[in-house]
């Protein structure tokens, strides 16, 4: 197994090295990457998009459609996780359509891997498979120190996310970064407080809408741009107020939608 893997890696490495060896030097100012479209963006970006952070300008304006599809990809991940069967209970009406041998393994019948200490810490090992509903961390009480610190810091971390969200047009940051931090706060709270209390942060009725809010907001802004400029996802080039408003709608939707999706994926995997 190992020698073959090494051989495969070598087979892949040689052409890749040959490929990168003949690329133009990477930090020269006259490389094509700095002289073509990129140079035009640097030259005209601020005037055309009204955004000082040109990464945000590329993300939301010049290549806004990429970002649209990108939030669709996150939503796809959520739909994927939601569509998978839950737990290890048998199918509702028998499992006839499965091929032979895919029936659930009878418990205790299969050769058990030896749960040595390292593995059961590392990947969960074989410990939880005996339990009907594996309750994560139920046997390890959360340390009061950790609980206190997480609860103390959570609002500040959330504030940081909000700051990243609203200063994304002039500093590094923006919707996706804020979404990641929001989700991290949520997951940390979920770990110390329990899933149920964390899940209560998002009202049940709102969830189906919030999950898809990023693609929906993009579609809405694309439609508004279409009405205003005649081009899908177009921004009125000389009206910076409208441009800014459209950008903010997208950033907020990305932050909220992305955060909710990431948090929901976490919750689905836990239960």
């Amino acid at each position: 197994m190992r020698p073959w893997s090494l051989l495969l890696v070598l087979l892949v490495a040689l052409p890749l090295v040959a490929g990168v060896a003949t690329l133009p030097p990477h930090d020269a100012p006259d490389a094509p990457i700095h002289t073509q479209v990129g140079a035009l963006y640097l030259e005209r970006g601020v005037a055309e998009t009204g955004m000082k952070n040109l990464v945000t300008a590329v993300l939301l304006n010049y290549r806004g459609f990429d970002t649209f599809i990108e939030v669709v990809v996150i939503f796809t991940a959520l739909a994927a996780v939601l569509a998978l069967p839950k737990g290890s209970a048998p199918l509702p009406k028998g499992n006839a359509p499965l091929p032979k041998g895919s029936a659930p393994v009878p418990k205790g019948n299969a050769p058990l891997p030896q749960p040595d200490a390292a593995r059961s810490q590392g990947v969960g090992g074989a410990r939880s498979r005996e339990e009907e509903a594996p309750e994560v961390a139920s046997d390890v009480p959360v340390s009061p120190v950790v609980r206190f610190v997480v609860r103390l810091l959570a609002p500040f971390i959330a504030m940081f996310a909000v700051a990243m969200l609203f200063r994304g047009h002039i500093t590094p940051g923006g919707g996706f970064q804020a979404a990641a931090v929001f989700a991290a706060v949520f997951i940390a709270l979920g770990l110390v407080l329990g899933q149920d209390r964390a899940a209560r942060l998002v009202p049940v009725d709102w969830r189906p809408w919030l999950q898809g809010v990023a693609p929906l907001a993009f579609a809405l802004v694309a439609w508004i741009g279409w009405r205003l400029t005649g081009a899908f996802l177009g921004y009125p080039i000389d009206d910076h107020t409208v441009q800014e408003a459209m950008g903010f709608v997208l950033e907020i939707a990305i932050a909220v939608g992305g955060g909710v999706v990431l948090a929901r994926i976490f919750l689905e995997m836990e239960t």
Binding site: A13, P25, D27, I33, I74, A80, V105, A126
Partner: protein
């Protein structure tokens, strides 16, 4: 530094790619395979960002305190998109690994092969 005409930054990226590929191919543990995939993804992102940098460049944010030359903004946007895609793939892979673990009680390929 470019010994033998090789751009060492790019070579490092390819090396990282190969480390990830080796993990993905040779490791038996599904989680380690997934980590290998993530290493590969990171290497490609590093490649794109490296390519977008320019000698003595500032971040492409046009505020007081930065000046030309600026790094190209397109690679950053590409990598941001790429990271989100990678996170999504990782999430789906983890969900599948959780399923496999719940069903077979192991995530080692060697042990999965021995199951009936």
């Amino acid at each position: 530094m470019q010994p033998f005409g090789l751009d060492l930054d790019y070579v490092a990226v390819v090396a990282l790619f190969c480390v990830g590929l080796y993990m993905l191919v040779a490791k038996s543990n599904l989680l380690k395979k997934l980590l290998g995939l993530n290493v590969m993804e990171t290497s490609v992102f590093a490649f794109i960002v490296t390519a977008g940098m320019v000698e003595g460049g500032d971040p492409p944010i046009m505020v007081a305190g930065t000046s030309a030359p600026y790094a190209s903004p397109i690679p950053h946007a590409m990598v941001l998109t790429g990271i989100v895609v990678a996170v999504s793939v990782t999430a789906v892979a983890l969900a599948l690994i959780v399923q496999i673990h719940a069903h077979f009680g192991t995530i080692e390929i060697d042990e999965l092969k021995e199951l009936p």
